[in-house]
């Protein structure tokens, strides 16, 4: 019984001031005949360590970030049986509660999709050249410390 087509996975990477909404991401994932689609949405959190954030400002080395995201998707597809996957990341200002990043994975079954999606967001945070500056209600603002 065949439960997965042996065709190349379809990937989509976008880094820009605007990214399409989550329903467009789900529509992209649903095209591959998968059985489990997982979509992670990272949003601007209101409170961090007791301080209220009003906006995050993201910047990126865009060509390198796109290339690195594509490499992450290729690596994920080696580790898990992925049919379709996407990484969409906003740059510029992202107010509280708005989406900064969407990561989606479609697979024949749910567990690889969950695992790959989790790995992709964890790995993105340490490898992709994107940075955020936090502006707080107090008026202070600073670049996030970041990590490799």
């Amino acid at each position: 019984m065949i439960d997965q087509m042996h065709t190349a996975a379809a990937f989509d990477v976008r880094i820009g001031m605007d990214i399409p909404p989550a329903d467009a991401a789900m529509a992209f994932l649903a095209k591959g005949g998968s059985g489990g689609n997982v979509l992670f949405a990272g949003t601007t959190r209101r409170f961090t360590r007791g301080e209220e954030t009003v906006v995050l400002s993201y910047e990126a080395h865009v060509p390198l970030a796109k290339a690195e995201c594509a490499r992450l998707l290729e690596e994920a597809a080696i580790r898990w049986p992925i049919l379709r996957a996407l990484i969409w990341h906003r740059i510029g200002e992202v107010p509280v509660s708005e989406v900064s990043v969407l990561i989606g994975v479609a697979s024949a079954h749910r567990q690889p999709a969950f695992n790959a999606c989790n790995w992709l967001i964890d790995t993105l945070k340490h490898r992709v050249p994107i940075w955020k500056r936090e502006t707080f209600r107090s008026g202070s603002s600073s670049w996030h410390e970041g990590s490799w």
Binding site: E59, H61, L64, A67, K125, P129
Partner: protein, 81 residues
């Protein structure tokens, strides 16, 4: 030869610029250029041990030999997501 240096995030803010062109010797390595910049900018010297480097769309290590007109990015620790 000339190399364009790209700065982002904390370094861009501290240096007040996103890019600059520097003249370097033919055959210069990334580490040579970073050493030059560290003498010019305290913030580059201070951040140096945390920096990673890229030329174009590839990460490189500090022994990478540069070519004329390369774009060398000095990358501080990342915080996307």
């Amino acid at each position: 030869m000339h190399v364009t240096i790209l700065y982002f995030s904390h370094l861009r803010s501290a240096l007040g610029r996103g890019k600059e062109v520097v003249g370097v010797a033919t055959g210069a390595r990334v580490e040579d250029v970073v050493s030059l910049l560290a003498t010019r900018y305290d913030e580059v010297a201070r951040m140096r041990s945390a920096l990673r480097f890229a030329v174009g769309t590839s990460f490189v290590d500090d022994s990478h030999v540069l070519s004329d007109r390369d774009e060398l990015a000095l990358l501080t620790p990342v915080s996307g997501g």
